[in-house]
Amino acid sequence: MMWFSLDTWIVVIGALCAVACALPGCFLVLRKMSMMGDAISHAVLPGLAIAFLVTGSRSSIGMFVGAAVVGVLTAVFTQWISSWGNVDKGASMGIVFTSLFALGLLLIVQAADHVDLDPSCVLYGAIELTPLDTVGTITIGSTVLEIPRAFVVLGVVALLNLLLILFFFKEFRISSFDPELADTVGIPSGFMHYLLMTMVAVTTVASFEAVGSIIVIAMLVVPAATAHLLTDRLGWMLFLSSIIGIVSAGLGHLMALTVPGWFGFKDTNTSGMMAVAVGLIFFAALVLSPRYGLLGKMLSVRRIEVDEAEVESEGEEVPKVI
């Protein structure tokens, strides 16, 4: 295996994407809306198509705005359907994103008469190619660094998410755990909900345009769920999920370079392997987490059984509490 500066960039960009996604992802998991990332990344298709039809170009700014707007609309429509129609959140999410995706597909087929617009190439950026698309260079000492565009985009998004969450930490916390309490103490839980959804939509669109949708969906849910298995404190959960995201970005790229070799293949897709890596970390936490892990639970059950057995064997001497 060879490691180039290209590989370092891929890992750095993957890690930035992971942090940008993991932060709002924690709140998605706590609010039981984990599938939102998946829904948004499918639903933005009509936004892309309309932006393309309106501006007539594949400029990334127009596409980005179109996709982000439709992403937020996905959350809004989901909310409307589930509150007006009393439909389960998951189901209304499914209805909205499948319908929007179908609409987008139709629009793209219409547009395709004029110019080639392949949904898969619009939808799925490839993380392997990101270091090649640069915006400028920085010189540190004697080394010249070419800064990839994805690095800038994801860095800005990650920073923005971090600042928003730090600034509104109390509001996000209360409205995630107890929206009614939030309303009674004067925190607009509805506004916080849509702020979070906007963050998720912008993050999703920015990341999948840069690095591909599969990393986004994985990093929104899995690091947060893993951190949830490890801690009960929200601050720690945010911190741990970011760390888990960063580690799995590195591990994933490493696996993409090495694992296929074990089976006689050359190498494989990095974004897929990053998702697999974070999945492995989740599985490890599922088994090994001190408090909520399967092993820990099994041991504590054993301990209780042993204690009971001891109590029984000691017989009469132990006062019985009924």
Partner: protein, 452 residues
């Protein structure tokens, strides 16, 4: 016109095949999707269909290694089913054994399995001359180019789903509505859950290669969610969901046969979405329009009753006689306005509404006189309300100061039986005095009426 006819009534072999297949798939997934919806697992189809990808890649690798063609359909189906079922198994495992909830478990399985699939396909692409290109179209479907084997496969699975849900109807119903109770009856809840999800997997896997990922996800969710607006009975819901699935498959597939440039899957989804929107608005059991109009009617009724009671109490105060022997005289608009916190506009509207019910004899803007029927209704309403208020005070141990006019909203929906019961309990025949003290001078008013 002739082509429309030919397509809608399935006169061409190709359209017949495609339309029938989508109809069958719509029926089967509407049916099994209803159970998913009621178990709040609608997105399981989403997770499952993504989890099929690694299976397809792995099956391809194995078949190529075994020297066979990598794209044989049965092999790919088996591979997809295996990882699909493994994905479902993981969702159940994570949900049942840890604090991670259903939605996160589905998100994890979806993204990790799909990531694995992408990685495996990435490796497959590097196999020399294995013609792996187009493998991923397996999960994006090929609706318009289905063949007879696809039809047979779909029909077989649909039949399986139909039979299984008919046999296990009672078990599935209880599982959907009260899992805990099913467990306490000693039913094998986990095993039933797995059977249900195995049926979902079967529909998803065969549907996936026939019509594609998005359509199968939509088919599992939309017909069931739409059916929920039409009925509150599970049996009917299953029938309606199957019908909606079938109809959207039929209309969508025929439309796309008429407009060959458009992707069939997308059209079918949009037809189903249109049916959903219609159901959301006009559904007979839980549609938005019906619920809103019921709310408006109730609010009008409550307002009218407040008006009648206000007029009656003014008459009571002005005439200062025994209750029950009041005479129906005009009262002034301002006096009614002072009694409650109505704005003049709202009061005028209430009077109009009461007028439509024939409760008002005449109203000239200054004075208001109830009609005979209105007067009778006013006496009855006042009596019922006071009975209820006194019941709350004497039998439900609620302090008189808390029995205020808005807290006891039940008084507006008292049934005749309930009124008789109240009369018996309180031993009252005529109209009691208001427990609030006549004229509601304020919260601290002396309760002249509660001398029971």
């Amino acid at each position: 016109m002739d082509t429309v006819w030919r397509v809608l009534f399935l006169l061409d072999y190709n359209t017949r095949l495609v339309v029938l297949s989508t109809v069958i798939l719509g029926v089967a997934s509407g049916l099994i999707g209803s159970f998913l919806l009621l178990r709040k697992r609608s997105l399981m189809g989403d997770a499952l269909s993504h989890a099929c990808l690694p299976g397809i890649g792995l099956a391809f690798i194995f078949m190529v290694m075994a020297g066979a063609s990598g794209k044989s359909l049965p092999g790919l189906l088996v591979g997809a089913s295996i990882t699909g079922l493994a994905g479902v198994g993981f969702v159940l495992l994570i949900r049942n054994l840890s604090r991670v909830k259903d939605d996160a478990a589905m998100g994890i399985v979806l993204s990790v399995f799909f990531g694995l699939g992408v990685a495996v396909l990435g490796m497959v692409q590097t196999i020399p001359d294995a013609s792996a290109a187009g493998l991923e179209t397996f999960i994006y479907g090929k609706t318009a180019s289905m063949v007879f084997n696809d039809f047979l496969l779909l029909a077989g699975v649909a039949f399986l789903v139909l039979v299984a849900s008919a046999i296990l109807m009672k078990e599935f119903t209880l599982l959907c509505f009260d899992e805990g109770f099913a467990r306490s009856l000693g039913w094998p809840v986990h095993r039933l859950d797995m059977i249900m999800l195995a049926l979902v997997s079967a529909v998803t896997v065969v549907g996936l290669q026939a019509v594609g990922l998005i359509l199968i996800i939509a088919f599992l969710i939309i017909p069931a969610a739409a059916a929920r607006f039409w009925t509150d009975d599970l049996r009917n819901m299953l029938i309606v969901a199957a019908a909606i699935g079938g109809v959207s498959g039929w209309l969508g597939a025929s439309t796309s046969a008429l407009l060959p440039g458009l992707p069939a899957g997308a059209i079918i989804v949009l037809v189903a979405a249109a049916i959903f929107l219609f159901s959301l608005l006009f559904g007979r059991a839980r549609g938005v329009v019906r619920r809103l109009s019921a709310q408006v009617r109730l609010r009008r009724k409550v307002g009218r009753q407040h008006l009648l009671r206000a007029v009656y109490e003014i008459l009571e105060r002005n005439q200062n006689k025994d209750p029950g022997v009041l005479s129906n005289e005009p009262v002034s608009f301002d006096e009614v306005l002072r009694l409650r916190t109505w704005t003049p506009v709202r009061l005028r509207r209430l009077i109009q509404s009461a007028n439509r019910e024939d409760h008002i004899d005449r109203f000239d803007g200054v004075n208001l006189r109830l009609s005979e029927s209105g007067f009778g209704e006013a006496a009855r309403t006042t009596r019922n309300h006071r009975l209820w208020e006194m019941f709350l005070i004497t039998h439900a141990d609620i302090a008189p100061s808390h029995v205020d006019r808005d807290a006891d909203s039940v008084e507006h929906v008292l049934s005749p039986d309930m009124v008789r019961e109240l009369e018996r309990k309180l031993d009252l025949r005529n109209i009691p005095l208001s427990p609030h003290g006549l004229g509601h001078v304020g919260v601290g008013a002396v309760d002249r009426g509660t001398g029971i």
